[in-house]
Symmetry: C2
Subunit: 517 residues, 2 copies
Amino acid sequence: MNVSEAVLRELVDLGVEVCFGNPGTSEMHLVASFDRVGGMRPILGLFEGVCTGAADGYARMAGKPAATLLHLGPGLGNGFANLHNAKRASSRMINLVGDHATYHRKYDAPLQSDIHAIAKPVSDWIGDPVSADDALAKTRQAFDIAMRPNGGLSTLIVPADIAWSEMTGIPQHHTAKAKRANSVDLKLVREAAAALRSGEPAALLIGGHAGLERPLALAAAIAEKTGARLFADTFVPRLARGRGRARPDRVPYLGEMAVMMMQGFRHAVMVGTKAPVAFFAYPNKPSTFLSPACKTYQPWDNDNDVIDVLTALAEEVGATVAPIPAAGALPDVPTSGKLNVESFGNAFAALLPEGAIVSDEAVTSGTWAQIASQSAAPHDWLALMGGAIGDGIPMAVGAAVACPGRPVINLQADGSAMYTIQGLWTAARENLHVVTVLFNNKSYGILNMELDRVGATAQSERSRSLLSLDKPVIDFTAMGRAMGASAVRVDDAGAFAMAFKRALAEPGPHLIEAMMV
Amino acid sequence: MNVSEAVLRELVDLGVEVCFGNPGTSEMHLVASFDRVGGMRPILGLFEGVCTGAADGYARMAGKPAATLLHLGPGLGNGFANLHNAKRASSRMINLVGDHATYHRKYDAPLQSDIHAIAKPVSDWIGDPVSADDALAKTRQAFDIAMRPNGGLSTLIVPADIAWSEMTGIPQHHTAKAKRANSVDLKLVREAAAALRSGEPAALLIGGHAGLERPLALAAAIAEKTGARLFADTFVPRLARGRGRARPDRVPYLGEMAVMMMQGFRHAVMVGTKAPVAFFAYPNKPSTFLSPACKTYQPWDNDNDVIDVLTALAEEVGATVAPIPAAGALPDVPTSGKLNVESFGNAFAALLPEGAIVSDEAVTSGTWAQIASQSAAPHDWLALMGGAIGDGIPMAVGAAVACPGRPVINLQADGSAMYTIQGLWTAARENLHVVTVLFNNKSYGILNMELDRVGATAQSERSRSLLSLDKPVIDFTAMGRAMGASAVRVDDAGAFAMAFKRALAEPGPHLIEAMMV
């Protein structure tokens, strides 16, 4: 058995089942090993950003890592932006990066590059094995890092000569063991509990891994019991939403609004996240949102399970999880009218099926959908975490692979879609039930807003040309069909609702190009 | 005048005319400055890899840098692979990377990342200004690095608060000054000359900036005079080819062939390049091609102009540039028959117009076209230099922007095309005369070959699925049309020739999907 096969077998033994890859020559022995290692499903992405984004979506829904298979430094570079997003999502991932044979590195061949430099900003751990046995040991380490309570990104460099070398003896197999979380620091929990119960205005802010159903319910119970106001980060990697789930306020994206909303608090307790900061700096606007008079409490760290922390906090304040009252009636399904942010949002919320997973990269077009769907059927919502656009399509692919029985709805802005449009092909090839709602507004809508917000002005065609997607307008329906999706263009609310209903009813990949007014 | 405007003005004064960009919020002041700085043309790419690849193609044809405009670390990461290719091409480029305001960095906002780490492997110089004046000084440094005799990649980080701050006083403008090349080391030249004239088997190997018309002619004269055999690197950033140009032998991609071809030499003189090495390592195959008995000579370094070096070498051996005899008759234009590597190559060579620029990412489909076109009309050939696929479409865009009067033919493999397919849109928006010949063979053809070459075997559908592009077959004709190109599918040689002739005759973007057998 060669090292490639041993590494794949070890990953399978540890519970890793899927590999999103785009290999090249240096990974060919790993590729060949898929034939001999039955438990690992290889899935081809036509660009590495699709692979890393899909692994991110997979991890958020499966709670365990997928592997990626990337071709040297440039392949890792192509995957960089979605690794950045995955790291900001506290996702779990094991990147296998093929490299030149160790003895070939010194010749500075065309594909030679500094893999460590590229990997460092997006890795919690980098392994660079020096022998066959070391490769196997580092595979286990990579898994352990990925299974840390609040996620981990491992990058395992696999030189070609190690990949093709034979193992000495039969590798010992290990059964998967989840990394045990550290016990909760009860002193910090008590301080946080005291703050929440102080009678002074207090906020409980959740993010990271605390957006899942159980921790969210605990957080809601704590807030209910103590009178604290429950917030979720502007973006949460996976948020349990819909009927029966708590409805935390979202920290607004716009700093001015966030400051207004948060300035009155005297205590802020963070679980799974840190004190909120502005996404960008703007001239004469604050970088942080909490008042200087607000005391902050962070009764957790990366080695704690947020469920343990919230359970302890709930016990300390005497809170118990109780049913959440409904948010109000669902909107009616529109049967006609203009297709805009509001009518889309209503149709979406009314038709969203139970168990749906939403991959949200709608940017400016999805604002009402988020609000309207609070009373929709229970669903999970996956957000773009690192601000690097091009995550929506791949993340939908990964979520669909992780949860074959659940429809995935990808709310997708046009500008962002063009970053990793290749992901539509993978959804088609794997016949995934992904419904891509492609909002065509012919511009980077948010940037037109941001241009004004930073105090810059651009009157002429010249500057605005960098923010518009017209001339030529992209035909996303044709793009979808070209890559194997069933695709349709709609330009009124009734047509959208009909197309959406049909796409949800029929497994396989669909694209609905929503021409927004 | 704010720093954004001052930086753009400085670049224009230095002779930089084009900026390939995909900006975000942190670059909005730079975006707004395009309105006020007339001499700089902003060109939008829908993905940063398009921008960096286009800047590479531009630099190869213009001989001077374009700027790129990239959005923080992830934007730079998206551009990484084509920066890697550009660095391997010894191209000239100035990357402007927007960053958070300096005071905002400490808050670790979602888009914060280690820009230096990402930039380092693909930059010859990184500038991180700390003030308005420093930003201007570093802009000049960035240009100086890019104008080094054998190219340079500069990365200038532009924090938002520096970009929006006002210049104190009126910035002093500088006229462009080309970086002066160091004078040639005549001792090294004499040693190289002696080796070439020794009477023992000698090779003269050129690459890098020595592929242009003048240095190539000098190299051919030297080889002719001394009896040395003239080689060009397997891949050359820009090679002058066709009638009247020298025809250096190409160092074969396949190491076994390269070793056979090069093992007999006792002396090898390299200009613009280094001793050739294998692209990848393979079990039990050599990493280098020259015999251990071969002495190597490198009478140049990065601070020399290769024309100076070759001129000195020509003088030393008494060589003068003379007309190059023709290579033989051009093939006939096929009027029917199967469309395969050979019939395509014949049609291509016969129809290639004078002054054409070829952006070559054909991989397995372009082998015969390269040979057949040796006797075609004079043209320039741009190769993928760093092995990171996804350079062909962007490079064609950049070359067309640099040379508006010359048709650009992009020979494009299907697998590689999907890496930066978004570049078709930029070609359409800018109405560039780019003819993309898209070879659809429904696979990563070269990887099926490489799989066997590395000694790996993959019998089953499982492994092969990572190398094939069928299920579903991509409709590139529809993709091209969706992004504004005039597109047509052809599946025989006569139809290809007709479509190619038509596309060459009619300015604007064309895509010909060549269904290869």
